[in-house]
Amino acid sequence: MLNKTGIPTAEDVKKVSPSPDRLKKGPVAIIECFQEIPCNPCTEACKQGAIQPMEDINNLPKLDFEICNGCGVCLSRCPGLAIFIVDGSYSDREAVVRIPYEYLPVPKVGDKVTGLNRSGEELGVFEIIKVQSGGQKNKTYTLWLVVPQDLAMDVRSIRLGGLRHAI
């Protein structure tokens, strides 16, 4: 149960997942925001109009998968770090998962990192193919990970490097 463990259930995830066909077509946002909280930067971020304006700021975000082009602007704006972009068109066997990242050290292109699922369990070692800075003000990085197609809806984090201060 999400509200006991912090781990969204399969049903939760299903509610915000695009169809396999849509995933195959190209990058699309997955908004894993399941609780009504007073928050709406995602709606303001989307210039395509894919995320409907909220009538009430407490509404859950509603995304039109057909309008979304996977640009990723909402991903870096979301204060909950709850938005991911999945591109199932990357290759036959692999997909790209973009995740928001705010830890140090920031991985570099070509690095191999350990991918984790929503429970923090290891799913394998994946390559970073792009690292996008959110800029001076926003500061949230976007990591692009290449993962097997069947893990595209599971990989959501990476094992931290754990920069440790000397005692």
Partner: protein, 364 residues
């Protein structure tokens, strides 16, 4: 004696927003802040905030703080005295303060108390060992002074503060052994919980700490599971090796000055403790004394800023400023507060405010 139209006690988001709102309408304002820097809790908040654009959602807490400070700095009508602690509000309207080791007296026409909240503590054996911190203290150490409190932390409390401070500890390279929460559900926003969980940190609801142990300082903690009646379940004890235990078990409104000023107070659990009774425009039962932010009920920076603005407008309006503009601005602020509190997350606050404004009930 310093004379001023509007005196604001506390330079957090509520106080600073009150200052610029009152000054914008033409009032002269003085803000007293006991810290070296104004900004309140915002100074330490490195994460992006929720809310809407009107409350700078998506910006990080410290960036919002800087913006509010800048607004006050550029206003010729606002003076900010830092390193200044308000000590008392007297019957004749005089406010005393300690400012850079001097005792000063101020005679304001209106007062806005925006002193925020203080951290709660819980009782368990050895809770006085070095290495046991309040979450606010950990944030100050890390984000103001650049010092990590230790290597491996047990976080107590899965409200927003427990979740966010855990995240900030992880960002500083510190390991979180677990976040435990006595309640059966996570109290903070689930998006915060999910982002920590997927980085590998267990969040254990229905769990509590039974003791801390260690020779000179914390070396570990024993935690256990709770049943539906919040009673420890025998045999579920776990020993966690940690060198820091961080308490994020709630805040209480910092209301000493309101008590002392003889505002009528009421105990409202939904607002986290004793809070002054006040009207819709945030004026307390002591005429000319307003409250805003966490001191009037622990909530969020987003609502603290809007309350500050509302109190600032109301104080200036009562002095005869903004006769045209003020009523409309007041309505706008009230509408914003309603919007922020209208969802499930604001339900508790709404209930608390209803209780508080219900003048029929017994007060203490």
């Amino acid at each position: 004696m310093k004379e001023i139209e509007v005196l604001i006690i506390g330079g957090g988001p509520a106080g600073l927003s009150a200052a610029s709102a009152a000054a914008n309408l033409g009032a002269s304002v003085l803000v007293l802040e006991r810290d070296e820097l104004p900004g309140g809790q915002l100074v330490k908040q490195t994460h992006k905030f929720f809310g809407s654009k009107k409350q700078y959602a998506g910006d990080r807490g410290f960036q919002i703080g800087n913006l509010l400070i800048e607004q006050c700095k550029t206003s010729a009508k606002v003076e900010v005295w830092t390193n200044t602690t308000a000590l008392g509000i007297y019957e004749d309207g005089v406010v005393t303060a300690e400012s850079q080791d001097e005792h000063v007296k101020i005679k304001p026409k209106k007062i806005i108390v925006a002193t925020g909240a203080s951290e709660k503590m819980i009782v368990f054996p050895n809770n006085d060992l070095p290495g046991i911190y309040g979450a606010g203290a950990v944030q100050t150490l890390m984000n103001v002074h650049g010092i990590v409190p230790g290597q491996r932390v047990l976080m107590i409390g899965a409200g927003n503060i427990g979740l966010i401070v855990s995240y900030q500890l992880m960002q500083a390279g510190v390991e979180i052994a677990a976040i435990i929460e006595a309640a059966p559900a996570i109290g903070g926003y689930l998006v915060h919980a999910s982002k920590i969980r997927r980085a590998g940190v267990p969040i254990l609801t229905s769990h509590t700490i039974t003791e801390a142990y260690g020779q000179e300082s914390v070396e570990g903690a024993v935690i256990c599971k709770l049943d539906e009646n919040w009673q420890p379940i025998q045999g579920t004890e776990q020993d966690l090796k940690v060198d820091v235990i961080c308490l994020a078990v709630g805040l209480s409104p910092l209301t000493e000055l309101c008590f002392q000023a003889d505002c009528r107070m009421k105990y409202v659990p939904e607002l986290s403790g004793h809070v002054p009774i006040r009207d819709e425009y945030l004026e307390t039962t002591r005429p000319g004394l307003y409250v805003a932010g966490d001191v009037s009920g622990v909530e969020e920076a987003s609502s603290a800023m809007v309350e500050g603005r509302l109190a600032g407008i109301s104080a200036a309006y009562s002095l005869g400023y903004g006769l045209e503009a003020a009523p409309k601005l007041q309505e706008e602020a009230l509408a914003e507060l309603n919007e922020l509190r209208s969802g499930p997350a604001g339900h508790k606050t709404m209930k608390g405010i209803m209780k508080l404004m219900d003048k029929g009930e017994v007060v203490c």
